[in-house]
Symmetry: C2
Subunit: 349 residues, 2 copies
């Protein structure tokens, strides 16, 4: 670990018999006025010394850190989640293309209590922030008022005026309902995720909207919380069919719960889709590989992440003033949905 002392711009200046200014000018291509000879001399010294300007000093000077923050909620191993992972990948990629780097923070209670989310800006850690997995309970978001570049990714927060980029979850709900209804299902169950998430509300609204229009209802007895997890989805599906064995289809608020639901249904001897159809939402990579492959609503998560990052950069460079975008979703039909079997109790409302 024999850390050789870092070489600074001073060393380059000395080595090339030029002044600090000249070196800086050359390195920043502000060298319209620098003679070719001097330029060469400086560049060769830079090369020889392996000099690279300190980003710390540059940032102090420019008052821009060159970092973007990603704030995720505290979950079981926050980053071991495909949904967040996909968003983070998209954000990282977009940031890197624009010479920004990404900082990762987890908003646990202690973190928020100590106002670490505010320190992110106050202490000049970052130039902009992307908030993932936000819920309507996250009142701390209010602290970002309107004087910091912050974008809520794939969500909105009711009552807080923040920029966002999201998928059209109301439409996702409508598509799911339409698909199941067109197959002929009448008694449809619904497994939702955290109700304090705004897009969860959107999804349900869209879903119920179609059901209502077709004179089918969504009684609370056909509704269960799946906690956005596989375990939760399994438990919810079992609860649903235990309470109302006539249910022939289930719409799950995300794919994880849908996969759990399929597993739960199997446990109680129900076949998918023969006895019960299951449709998810998200279209995670794994959806294609479950048994049966999951019919789901494709949400362009990666694109949303990339777009959110791009727009945040625009916000930072004042190329944009305000950002509110909603991206289209689509149906991805696989094998977990089918028409209900005739003559079964499920076919009669």
């Amino acid at each position: 670990m024999a850390k050789r002392k870092a070489v600074s711009i001073k060393d380059v200046a000395r080595e090339s018999n030029a002044s600090l200014t000249t070196v800086s000018l050359v390195l920043n291509n502000r060298d319209g006025r620098i003679s070719r000879a001097t330029r060469e001399r400086v560049l060769s010294a830079v090369e020889r010394l392996g000099y690279r300007p300190s980003r710390l000093a540059q940032s102090l000077q420019s008052q821009r850190s060159g970092f973007l923050g990603i704030l995720v909620p505290q979950l079981r191993h926050a980053f071991a989640d495909i949904y967040f992972g996909e968003l983070i990948s998209a954000i990282q990629e977009t940031a890197a293309e624009n010479d920004y780097k990404i900082i990762l923070d987890v908003a646990n209670p202690r973190y928020l209590e100590r106002n670490h989310h505010l320190e992110l800006f106050r202490r000049h850690y970052i130039d902009g922030l992307l908030c993932l997995g936000v819920t309507n309970n996250d009142t701390y978001l209010d602290d970002f008022s309107d004087d910091h570049p912050v974008i809520v990714v794939n969500n909105r927060v009711a009552g807080i005026d923040l920029d966002f980029v999201q998928c059209d979850y109301a439409e996702a709900g409508r598509i799911a309902a339409t698909h199941l209804c067109e197959l002929g299902h009448k008694k449809i169950g619904y497994i939702h995720g955290a109700t304090e998430v705004q897009t969860t509300a959107d999804l349900r609204d869209g879903f119920e909207d179609v059901l209502n229009r077709l004179k089918l209802s969504l009684p609370t007895s056909r509704t269960e919380d799946g906690l956005y997890t596989e375990e939760g989805g399994a438990a919810a599906a079992i609860a649903l069919l235990t309470r109302d064995p006539g249910i022939t289809a289930i719409f799950s608020g995300n794919d994880k719960m849908a996969i759990g639901a399929i597993s739960g249904l199997k446990q109680i001897g129900k076949r998918v889709p023969d006895d019960v159809s299951v449709i998810g939402c998200d279209d995670i990579h794994h959806a294609e590989f479950c048994d049966p492959p999951l019919t789901t609503i494709h949400t362009p998560i990666f694109e949303v992440g990339a777009r959110a990052c791009k727009l945040l950069l625009d916000l930072i460079s004042s190329k944009a003033e305000s950002v509110r975008e909603t991206q289209a979703v689509s149906l991805s039909v696989r094998k977990s949905t089918a028409a209900p079997r005739k003559g079964r109790n499920g076919a009669t409302q």
Copy 2:
């Protein structure tokens, strides 16, 4: 976006009628010599102004960035991977506990070509680096020679002398082989991941070791590359059983491929574990929820990540000189392995 101007230590000094030094002293608790009254005055000014020291300036001064880097290889959406996600979660958590923040970088070809991995240190972005998903082809790691705090996480690199923390994959291979042999399997297939990964070699060595000792062999005809993906695992399993229908068990180098293998086996009409047993390696969260629940080798990934981060911090603060650790693994029996059915061709070598 009416960004009110940032308040600096100068403002606090003015507001509290004290000097910069005094303010700094108070804030850093080096205030043994400061009078109680002054102290109060400073603190109240800090409070009133909402002052927080700039990390940029502090870092420039202290020559420590307070950041740790995580370098991951370029994969399809690098962070949408449970394995990396788990490591990153562990690292982030440990870093946060020690007042460090995490920077995320993806080592794509362009990145490496431009020596961005070296800039990480040269330009003072980070104080230490954790490399994930490393292979023996990653010669750029050599650039970190021995003058930077770098730890390879859950791997080693053949021929490059770098610190590492890893699971005992040789033992994992031995445990898997022993489990299958004890169940009575004779013809065992093996699906491996990228062979340029050192731990893959370890795993195979351990696996073959046991097989050889029991006078069972692992001919290349019973070996397939599963590319560390589900799709690859499915294809590999199908290839394996097509070539040698006598195979009654498969060991997969990771859970993802094992899950793919199960899906592939189903496609060709094989039941798991009735016709073919499948054992994975990793024990990812999802392993419990596939159908059938996956028997696998539990590797303490989270612990490895946390430990690697802790040791990196020790390296940085010179509390440690060199780091080489190997963590124990264990068998997690679920439902995807069973004794081979009697009288089947698989039972005779």
